[in-house]
Structure formats: C-alpha cells, structure tokens
Symmetry: D2
Subunit: 192 residues, 4 copies
C-alpha cells in the first residue's frame, strides 16, 4: 500500500506543477482541487473475490487498476483535456487506458474522464512503476456525481426510476451550463 | 491585523465544530470548504480614502467591516441557512448586519448570504470583540461569482451588455438547478 | 468522540491565537508545534476495564481525562509557563488538574507540564464543557520522551537497567542545555 | 520563480516517498519535518549585486544556487546520511556540490549537511533541470542554528565574543548528546 500512496504523491506533484505553470501563463488555475484516495484493504479483498482471483500481490498489481485513485476537479470542460494532455505527454508517464465518459456519458448521466496511467516511484532500490486511476471532472460534474453516488447505496427506493430520470435530466442541464459558462469565460478573457 | 487573523481562526473553528456535529447527526457535511482572507493593507488604505476617512486604527475598526473575510461554500441552499442560524445562535457571537442576496439577488445575478458578526478573541489581556464578514454560498453560486468577478476587472469590453445578460441568465439557471438537486437529495435521503 | 475532537479544535485555536499575539509582541514564536490526538476506542475500553469501570458514556466523561490530548512543543522552558499561564487565565477555561513534571521530574527522567482543563464547545444545542489533557514540553524534552517511549514497549531487554540509567543521565544533560540556551537567548535578545 | 517552486515540490515529494518507505521497513520516520523556502526577489537582487553580476535570468540560474531551499530535519545524525544517500542515488538527481558541516563544523559551531542538486521539473514543454539547496540537520542542530541565526542579526552586542564562545560550547554538547541518544536508540531497537 505504501507504494501506491507514493504513486499518489508523484501524480499529485505533477498536477500541482502543471497547475502552477498554467496559472503563470494563463493567469488562472485550471485545477480547482485534487483529492486522493487509497482503496481500503477490505475493498481490495472483495474485488479480488468478485473477479475470482487468488489473494496475492501479483493479482493486486496486475488486475486491480484502481487501488490508487486521484480525482482532479477542474473549472471548465476544456481544462480537463488540457491538463490530461499535458500529463500524458510527460516522458515518464505511460497511459494504459482511457475512458471518456464526457464525450460518451454513462446511461445514468455520469460524466468524467478516466485515465489509468503508470508512474515511476523512486524507492531506495530504484524506480518502480505503479498504476494510478485519475478521474477528471468539472466542479458541476463532481457535485452531480456525489449526489448520484448516494442514490446507488439506497436499496429500497420506491420512486427509483423517477429519481434516475430526474438525475439524468439534471446531468444534461449541468453539462449545457458548463459549456455556456466556458463560452462566457472565453468572451470575457479574450475580449481585451 | 494579527487580531483579525485570530478572529478568522475563531470563526473557522466554530464552523468546523458545527460541520463535525452535523456530519455525525446527518451523515453528510453541509460545508464543502471554508476560505479565509485578510484585506491587504493597501486595499485598506484605498477604502479609507474612498470613504474620506483619516487613516487610523479607530476608523479601521469602526468603519471597515470586511478586513477579515470568511467564505463558506455549502452543498445546498438550505445548508446555508442551517449553518448561518446555528452560528448566530451561539452566545458569544453578535450579529451586526445581514444581507441576503439569495432571497434578493443583486442586479447582476449575484447570490450569497452576507453576515457581519462580532466574535471575541482571547488575547493575553483578556477578551476583545472583532468584526468578521462571512459570505455563505453554494458551490454553484461560488463558481458563478468567480466568473462574474473576472468580468468586473475588464474595462474595455465591447459586448459587455450581452455578456452581463448572459451571466444573469446563467445565474437563474444555476439557482433553479441548485434547488432541483436539493429536492432530489431530499427524495434520496428520506426515501428509506 | 466528535465532541472531544471539537474540544481539541477549540484548544488548538486558543493556542494559535496566543502564539500569533506573542509573535507580534516578542518577535518570535513560543510554540514550535501543536500535535493533537484522540484516544482510540480500543484503548478507552482497555482503560475502563483496568479501572474496573462499566463501559458507558458517563464513566468515559467522568473518569477518563485523557481522551482528547494536545501536545504543545515550545522552544524554551520559560515559554511553557508563559503559554500555560495565558491559557489558564482565559475566562472560559477551567483548570481541573496540574502535574508539573518539569519541576518534579519522574523517576525515569521524564519532564513535561501536564494540565487537565475543561473547555466549552459550541454545539447546535448550546455550550458543553469537555475535558482535554495538555502536555507542554520543550523540543529537547519531546525528543527525549519519544525515545523513552520506545523503551517502555520493549519487554525483554537484557540491559534495561543500564539503558534506563543512561536515559536518566541524558535527560539531566538535556535539561541543563535547555536552560543554558534559554539564558543565551536572553543575552542575545535583550542586549540591544 | 514558479519553476523553483516546482523544483521544491519535486524534492519534497522524493523525500516524503523515502520517508514513507523507511517508516515501513524500519518502523520509524527518519525525517521529522521538511521546510521549504524561496529566496525573496529583493534578496536575489542584493545577492547579484554583491557578486557584481548583472540582473538577468541567466545569472540567476547560473550563479545563485540557493533560490530554492529545502531544510530536512532528521531525528538522529545517521538518518541524515541515510536519507541524503538515498536521494543522491536516484537517477534523475544530479549532485552539484556537497558541504559537510557536520564532519567539519563551521568556526561558529554550526553543523549541517548542505547539498546542491539539480532535479528535473516536468513543464508543459518538457523536462527542465532546476537547482535546489538541501540542508540536512538533526532536531538539536536545527534548534541551535535558529538561536545562532538571531545572534548574527544583532549588531551592537557588548559581550558578543563571550556569547559566541558559549554558543560554540553548547554546539559541542548538543552534538555529543545527539550521538549518545543515537547510540541508546540502537541499543533499544536491536535489543530484542
């Protein structure tokens, strides 16, 4: 687990560096907040079990890609692609997987850009690559996702379908507002 | 300035205590983030000048209420009133002023609940009351306000009126989404 | 436990306020670091058991005074008494107990000033007093204590007595250095 | 300056990773605290002036090695060499200079291990090496240095020579205590 915690620190530093540079050249921060989380040992066991895999280090490192997770909350949709791009172009980052739930939202209305990358961590015996899952979202997408997340943990919801439909509709409205605000920012920023 | 910095610490602690208690009884945090800021000496001088007041400690303490500022970002509109209410009921807090720009938004579309309160700080010679301005907003109101803030610093904007109109329209849409999300949360939370 | 966590926040804020004020008037920070800790539920159970008390909230609140603990690391011995004094003079702090292991070190050589105080926390239903244990030490006393702490968890130490003797001797040397450095600081500070 | 701030973040992450790994394998943290500082623009100008260099970016990058500074406070003297060694063995770190004021203390009694290294920062246009000065000290050396630092800013000290002599003597006593405590830790740690 220590190695995954270190991988989170490396990714967080890379994102903070990019954010600082961007702030200097563009006079605003594309990243609002960075949250990191490590999967709990009990959830790791559950997931291995669900995948019918034996419990050992090899299977954890090979088949579970989301032990170390970073959530990057950006101001505007375009910031997501700018930051993700800059990160993926760094020569010590290897991209393993990309799932763009912004271009292709989930059935529920969920929007987010998911990357799985490998980043080297510098241990006493040398460099070692470690997997990290990175989720990029706007502030509004994140707010929506935290509400939708609550829904999934409620089991006996009478009007579940109606709520799902409403959530999906809110997700669409939120998205269109995100893009309108982005357009407005463009007009304000480049006007003079 | 030290005394105002201390007043910020006292208010921040009070808000963190309320947030912790609420998290325990309601299983969620009403407060997302707390940001504090101290007015820069140069801005204090400017403001005294604008108000045609002499530069002295008395005038600063008497006529400037926003030297110490706290911004409280809540998840939902109702959280704003819950937290503000709990704070104002504490027996060492004295409310000096309240401006509810949520119930009565500014012309621009700006929404926020502004309080000016007095809080005692415990210095070596005893208690001393100090003024703090507290702004309560939802995440969405805060996002909108940060964009609108940029606009005010642009001087020569050709299409300023169109942008203002669009911003006002976005503010309305954001508000209605805030309340829809709040209603949805109610349905999810109390369903079972 | 939430209430004790809140009591820690209140005490920490009070100490930070005193530190800020002192920094302004004396141009240096008497407090180097503040560490807080909450007793783990399992340790609370163990302690109730050891004291042959039933497990209930009343006994926890009445008989355990060290659930919420604050460690205040000061630069010099005199800072300890200055800060402790200022804290105890605040009108909402009630002192319940004081043990001065600096004036009367433990057999082991352990030095620290221990206070048990009651501080009000502002919950939604009003103020409620909560107990907090505060330990004041110099940097050097703290360093010594962390080494001595390791010793107590070693069971089968062949040369335990010799090590204890050496530790005691180091504690004396550390103390005399603390006071020499304090005297030197006095000479430097008040010289011109 | 942004680039130097980023270099500080990279070094801090590397140190935190090494500390985490060490904590896991040895069950204790060799690093107590890490402090970073950026030289103020006004101090940079002063230093260029003192060195009779023109004020331009090239001279700053070429001749000033201490714009970005990291101070690493370790528990024991041997931790200093362990951590410094692990850092210098990383394949993206280039050592430019080493000054061991622990083995060869300054005339004043000052002890510290100073490294100047180059670390790559990952900017949007690619990697770029940046210089960072790292000072390693024990807690006790750091405490001593902060007192001695005050002395150097006092100009008209009557008994300056006497104070210097006393400080030098304290430095020697502190060093011998550091090594005694280290030896004791060895006995406690490896005893059973």
């Amino acid at each position: 687990m220590m190695e995954f915690r270190c991988a989170l620190m490396e990714i967080e530093t890379k994102l903070n560096v990019l954010n600082s540079e961007f702030a200097l050249t563009h006079n605003r921060n594309p990243i609002q907040t960075i949250k990191t989380r490590l999967k709990q040992p009990v959830s790791i066991l559950e997931k291995l079990h669900r995948k019918e895999l034996e419990v050992n280090i090899f299977n954890v490192e090979e088949y579970l890609a989301d032990i170390a997770g970073v959530r990057v909350i950006c101001s505007f949709p375009e910031d997501i692609y700018t930051v993700a791009d800059l990160l993926l172009h760094q020569d010590d980052i290897r991209m393993l997987e990309i799932k763009d739930y912004i271009k292709k939202p989930k059935e529920s209305g969920y929007r987010s850009l998911h990357l799985i990358v490998e980043v080297p961590i510098f241990l006493s015996e040398g460099k070692k690559p470690r997997k990290v899952e990175i989720q990029f979202r706007t502030i509004a997408m994140d707010f929506w996702a935290s509400l939708e997340h609550q829904l999934r943990y409620k089991k006996h919801l009478e009007n579940a379908e109606e709520i799902s439909r409403e959530l999906r509709d809110c997700a669409d409205k939120i998205t269109s507002l995100d893009y309108r605000m982005q357009e407005l920012r463009g007009k304000i920023e480049y006007a003079d």
